[in-house]
């Protein structure tokens, strides 16, 4: 237990933590409870070394404390550094404890320190208008991770794309159990890919392969049947970041196709985020989903036909909330919510196209639905 660990865990000023440690040691020793406590102290002071006066700061064991104190000509400070049950051979456990606790509290590492710096305010993330003066103005504690994520990306991306990226990256993160810092890095890498990828068009075959790889063989035949009709339509799509988009099951994919090309990819990503939480039981989901999807298909088609007015009204909700919606019923809600986000981007002509395609697709889907049920 070091003073810093205590300070962060209890949320107290570092000096109080040091005093607490001292108090504890004193009390325990007075009680003479038999449990041997080993204490390390921090000593700082002036030392004559090599001809000039050197300020020395050292962590010493209790038994060396007096020796160190006598070496120093002037003592600047002495306090308890840490307490432990076992005798420490070297100071690396102290360092490790401090390192871990600081790592988990990186954002407010100076909260309990004795010095406050007025100039040290985090810069606002570049979503806000990037005035140089804004760095000076005290901002609320925005997550510097977010700042780091979008930092360095000149093109003022609309909010949905970065968050979608984060969702995609969130999936990867869930898979690899990555630390939050990795997510910003990957999000950056993906965000870079996205502008380039959006122009690409030969993704569908790759998509299919990846999709096939992701699913078990049992589902593959079903999916193949579903995925084949997708291809000609997908070729016209603006494909958003590649691999992640391929993630979702194809039944949601076919379902997602209907509303439109651009919204489709967006929706796929939404599905990704949703499916991220259900990744563990994906195989079960597939079975469950098909009957649901059939229902969903029907539901959504109806919804879409009456969609245009609804879409405008439903405000684009922040996608992180959507990530957490676990159950299928909110899925149609998800989709309608997404539509405004993407239709804002797409032009009016798209909607018209979408409706046209919808009608033709309806037949195919109903066929597929039948096929799914029988095959």
């Amino acid at each position: 237990v070091t003073y810093k660990w205590l300070s962060y865990t209890l949320g107290v000023h570092v000096n109080q933590a040091k005093q607490m440690l001292y108090d504890y040691v004193e009390r325990k020793r007075k009680e003479n409870s038999g449990a041997q406590l080993h204490v390390t102290y921090l000593v700082a002071g002036n030392l004559l070394q090599n001809g000039h006066v050197c300020h020395k700061v050292a962590v010493v064991r209790e038994d060396k404390l007096e020796a160190m104190k006598s070496k120093l000509s002037t003592i600047a400070s002495v306090h308890v550094y840490s307490i432990q049950k076992a005798l420490l051979k070297d100071s690396s456990p102290l360092y490790n404890t401090d390192y871990d606790i600081v790592k988990t509290n990186l954002q407010h590492c100076s909260k309990f320190s004795a010095i406050r710096c007025a100039a040290a305010v985090p810069r606002p993330p570049p979503d806000a208008p990037r005035a140089p003066a804004s760095a000076q103005s005290p901002q609320g504690q925005r997550d510097p991770d977010a700042a780091g994520t979008v930092n360095g990306h000149g093109p003022p991306a609309a909010k949905p794309p970065p968050q979608q990226h984060r969702g995609i990256m969130g999936m990867f993160a869930a898979k690899a159990a990555a630390k939050p810092q990795d997510a910003p890095k990957e999000a950056k890498a993906e965000a870079k890919e996205a502008p380039g990828v959006s122009a690409a068009s030969s993704k569908p075959p790759i998509k299919n392969n990846i999709m096939n790889n992701f699913f078990g063989k049992a589902a593959m035949n079903k999916l193949k049947a579903n995925s084949v009709p997708e291809q000609p339509k997908e070729e016209k799509q603006v494909v958003k970041p590649s691999v992640a988009v391929a993630e979702p099951e194809s039944s949601p994919n076919t379902v997602a196709e209907k509303p439109g090309k651009k919204t489709e990819s967006a929706r796929i990503q939404q599905k990704d985020k949703k499916s991220k939480t259900k990744r563990a039981d994906r195989s079960d989901d597939e079975e469950e989903r098909d009957p649901e999807n059939v229902k969903k298909k029907r539901k959504r088609i109806k919804q879409l036909q009456s969609d245009s007015s609804d879409e405008e009204d439903v405000p684009p909700s922040p996608t992180p909330e959507e990530e957490r919606a676990p159950s299928p019923p909110p899925v149609p809600a998800l989709k309608t919510e997404l539509e405004p986000a993407s239709t804002e981007v797409s032009s009016g002509g798209r909607k018209r196209k979408r409706k046209r395609v919808l009608k033709s697709k309806m037949f195919i889907d109903e066929e597929e639905g039948c096929m799914g049920k029988t095959g």
Partner: protein, 461 residues
């Protein structure tokens, strides 16, 4: 410095918890301005030859040197160019020095097939008794001999020699002089105690983790977590922290991945990636409490040639969010509270160390100041950008604090110049080996080393 102020309350924390402990506000940085504009490179074009930098250097330093020569040897001496020399006439010549060294690693020799030599292993010093000095000016060159210390001088220095040409074509030197200290800057230092912490050679990413606790202790002292109240209030007077290079250790430089087969190295990351992450965390802790200037060094991920450009902001995502982090060039020049700082990460000094008989880093530092040039060996043995318009390494104004990083140990000296210049010379030691940093008091230009230590298995402190 700390100790005297802090002593009264030294034992204050050996007590039961008291009332709300005080927090001290950090001293505000009143006057900071970055003067290292000449060291920033915009568009870089390497299509030029390096001869231009010497020409510019000579042209830039010639007037100053002529003036110095006149003041030293009389205003009536003849200042001649090499082409105008007459045998036997005492005159003064201003030119660039070139030292012909046998052991100097030369790329031409290495690739020359007829010699069939193995490349020379790096030596600590390349000097030899048989080295020769040659003076060059714009058009000609001439061998020097006489009252001039061949071993001590290095290539690229601009100097004025006074002597005469011999019959055999050599120049017999009677005396020589350098540009000497540049004109002084007015002193606007603060009236109260303000400290600047200089540290270099953090050496993150090295295999051994001994210095890690010391690094953490350093961060703790600066951010005010360590120490009793007196010490913490003193630490609040630290106005700035300058990290002078070599933030990553030499171990991160291994480029085995290039030699190994791709399938072996596919999953491995460069060691510098981990080290930079660690650096980011440390900088985050520091930045949340004190303004920090980060200079790149020899082993840091930036360009190799001098002047090294600042580390890129995207490498430090967590710390870059804070406005207190400043990524600066190497060499670095800035005005802090009216005190002019100038310093490098040590590559220039260690290069001169290799090619000169001077052994003491402080001595070399002083010599560069007297020679009027930060890094005379720059294009010759130290990588440098091919400047052609002006040489930014020429010292035009005398800084108040002149430092170099990554020295073997700490040394400092206050130099007084003839025209009233006062320069504090500091060699900042390598933190990863010595666990020592320097604390400079801006009020009276004094410097104190500060050492950190933990305890090891068998270390007695």
């Amino acid at each position: 410095m700390f100790s005297e102020q802090a002593a009264p309350t030294a034992q204050g924390l050996l007590a039961p918890p008291s009332a709300e402990p005080p927090t001290f506000p950090r001293v505000a940085v009143s006057g900071y301005s970055d003067c290292s504009q000449p060291f920033r490179l915009g568009e870089r074009s390497f299509s030029r030859q390096y001869a231009h930098i010497y020409a510019v250097r000579l042209a830039g330093m010639r007037p100053g040197l002529e003036q110095r020569a006149r003041s030293r040897w009389g205003s009536d001496i003849a200042l001649r160019k090499l082409s105008e020399l007459q045998a036997g006439e005492k005159c003064c010549v201003v030119g660039t020095l070139f030292k012909a060294m046998q052991l100097q690693p030369s790329i031409l020799q290495e690739i020359s097939e007829e010699h069939n030599l193995v490349p020379q292993p790096p030596l600590p010093k390349y000097i030899q008794p048989s080295d020769e000095l040659i003076l060059e000016d714009e058009l000609q060159r001439i061998k020097l001999e006489g009252a001039i210390d061949v071993q001590r001088l290095v290539t690229g220095t601009i100097l004025a020699v006074y002597g005469s040409e011999q019959d055999d074509g050599r120049f017999l030197v009677e005396d020589h002089c350098f540009a000497d200290l540049p004109p002084p800057l007015p002193w606007n230092g603060p009236s109260c105690d303000r400290f600047v912490l200089l540290a270099s050679g953090l050496g993150l990413g090295s295999v051994s983790g001994e210095a890690l606790l010391s690094t953490q202790l350093l961060v703790d002292v600066v951010t005010g977590q360590l120490g009793a109240e007196g010490e913490q209030s003193c630490a609040a007077h630290i106005a700035r922290v300058i990290l002078a290079g070599n933030l990553l250790s030499q171990n991160t430089q291994s480029r085995d991945t290039i030699n190994k087969a791709k399938y072996l190295t596919k999953k491995t990351q460069a060691a510098s990636v981990e080290a930079v992450k660690m650096l980011d965390e440390i900088l985050l802790q520091l930045c949340s409490s004190v303004p920090v200037d980060v200079m790149p060094g020899e082993f840091d991920p930036t360009n190799y040639t001098l002047p090294q450009q600042p580390l890129h902001r995207c490498m430090l995502p967590l710390a870059s969010a804070y406005a207190t982090l400043r990524l600066v060039t190497n060499p670095y020049q800035a005005n802090l509270d009216g005190v002019r700082f100038l310093g490098t990460s040590g590559q220039n000094i260690s290069d001169i160390f290799k090619y000169s008989s001077m052994d003491d880093y402080l001595e070399i530092l002083e010599w560069t100041l007297l020679a009027g040039h930060i890094s005379p060996t720059a294009p010759d043995t130290l990588g440098c950008y091919p400047f052609y318009k002006s040489d930014p390494f020429i010292l035009t104004e005398c800084p108040h604090v002149y430092f170099c990083g990554n020295a073997p140990h700490f040394q400092s000296k206050l130099l007084q110049g003839k025209e009233g210049q006062r320069v504090l010379l500091v060699t900042v030691p390598d933190f990863s080996t010595t666990q020592t940093a320097c604390l400079i008091n801006l009020r009276d230009l004094t410097c104190q080393p500060i050492t950190f230590s933990g305890f090891g298995a068998d270390s007695e402190d």
